[in-house]
């Protein structure tokens, strides 16, 4: 298996997890660039041009709330999960667990 094939499959696998990771991180209010850095530290390499529009989309869906903070060196828009966002995160985490169990069963008991 070439590194390139591995890289594309890993990328495919991780794509769907960005929303989950973002919602989980945003239980504490955070602004766009700081979120980008924490996600990268946690191993979710997501590009700014994906994350910034994603935050807007989640806000529009009522999953995030935002507030401008003008107290620091420059004004920044802080996002945090709404109640609906938290509920979605819980559903996604449950699904994640279910998938994990299923995959493990498949891998351990091949037919």
């Amino acid at each position: 298996m070439s590194d390139e094939v591995l890289a594309t499959h890993l990328q495919e696998l991780r794509r769907g997890t960005v929303v989950m990771a973002a919602l989980a991180t945003l239980r504490r209010p955070t602004y766009g660039y700081a979120l980008l850095e924490s996600l990268a530290e946690a191993g979710f390499a997501v590009d700014g041009n994906t994350l910034y529009p994603l935050l807007r989309r989640l806000e529009k869906q009522g999953l995030l709330t935002s507030e401008w903070n003008t107290e620091e060196s420059r004004p920044r828009k802080f996002y945090r999960v709404s109640r609906a966002g938290d509920a979605l995160l819980q559903s996604l985490l449950e699904e994640w667990q279910a998938l994990h169990t299923s995959i493990q069963n498949l891998a351990e008991n091949p037919r």
Binding site: Y31, Y33, N49, Y52, R56, T65, E67, R76, K77
Partner: protein, 332 residues
């Protein structure tokens, strides 16, 4: 949710690098008015954050760091599409297969028909062979260009119609159903019948050309076709009929399937066959003047010009029909 935008930051600030401003402008100009300033301010802050972080990490100059930060963000139009949810593609993957099918189907039917019609009109007008061919080629090119443009435009509009997209997709036939599956290529038994029928017809046509010379239907051994044509044109036509028969045999032996190559050869051979007939009919040289005089004795109103026009039209229609049929089978 609070979307208060600090008023002091809407405008340009002294010392703020212009590349960032230009980037923010490019990425937000297509956004709805009410979101533009807010997104712009956030984007500006994100870029500045990234620039500072890059400088702290690797220590490039301010301009270099700014350039790097913008390069990371990439094409501002792509970012804008992310904000608006606009599609990045003239015709997306859902519509593309049907787009190609519709385009092909219209091209292989409309282009040959209109080309034949224009050639016919030119021929009836008495244009030279060169002029007929030139106009026909130009017509084919123009028609193909129009078909491609309008079909593409229609599909691009459907692609962009957010409301009632499903109905629009159905109206351009973009919802696939199993009924649209092409037939399997016909087996060789069917194509054997087809090949035999076609060869028999070609043989009858060749026999008729010879027969009208040796045993005229008009009696008194007056050939219907001008006997002068035997010096070149009629042998050429007989040779072309033989070539058509050979094509039928080759096609049958190749498995009886129409391929793009066979359709091309069929169209070209048909054109080569139709061309002398059209040319001779257009210049009123096909019928034997003696035969015309003979016919006019019994039917005073007989006009050889009209007869020639009928032959000319028939030759073009048969050629167009046969070509389209070949392409239809080849492209399925």
């Amino acid at each position: 949710m609070s979307t208060r935008t600090p008023a002091s930051l809407d405008g340009r600030r002294d010392g703020r690098a212009s590349l960032t401003e230009r980037y923010v402008h490019a990425a937000t100009r297509s956004l709805p008015e009410d979101q533009r300033a807010d997104v712009a301010e956030e984007l500006r802050a994100s870029i500045t954050d990234r620039v500072e972080s890059l400088r702290a990490e690797r220590g490039p100059s301010a301009e270099e760091a700014e350039r790097m930060a913008l390069e990371e963000l990439g094409d501002p139009d792509r970012l804008a599409a992310g904000y608006t949810g606009r599609r990045l593609g003239l015709i997306g993957p859902e519509l593309y297969p049907q787009y190609v099918r519709v385009l092909k189907a219209i091209l292989v039917t409309v282009v040959p028909i209109l080309t034949a019609v224009i050639a016919l009109v030119e021929a009836v007008d008495g244009a030279s062979v060169g002029a007929i061919v030139g106009r026909a080629v130009w017509m084919a090119f123009t028609v193909a260009l129009h078909v491609a443009f309008w079909v593409t435009l229609t599909f691009a509009i459907v692609e962009r119609s957010a409301s009632d997209r499903e109905r629009l997709e159905r109206s351009v036939g973009a919802t696939w159903s199993p009924e649209q599956l092409p037939d399997l290529p016909r087996g060789s038994r069917a194509s054997l019948g087809e090949a035999c029928t076609n060869i028999v017809w070609l043989g009858i046509l060749a026999a008729a050309i010879v027969w009208q010379q040796v045993a005229s239907p008009l009696g008194d051994s007056i050939p219907v076709l001008d006997p002068d044509l035997w010096s070149f044109w009629l042998p050429l036509i007989l040779a072309l009929l033989a070539a058509e028969a050979v094509l039928e045999i080759v096609k049958y032996r190749a498995g009886g399937e129409w391929t793009v190559r066979f359709a091309t050869v069929n169209t070209v051979l048909g054109a080569v066959f139709a061309a002398p007939v059209v040319y001779l009919a257009a210049t009123d040289r096909l019928l034997n003047p003696a035969a015309v005089a003979e016919i006019q004795q019994g039917w005073a109103g007989f006009d050889p010009g009209v007869a020639h026009t009928v032959i000319l039209v028939s030759a073009l229609v048969i050629w167009a029909w046969d070509s389209v049929e070949g392409w239809r089978k080849a492209l399925g």
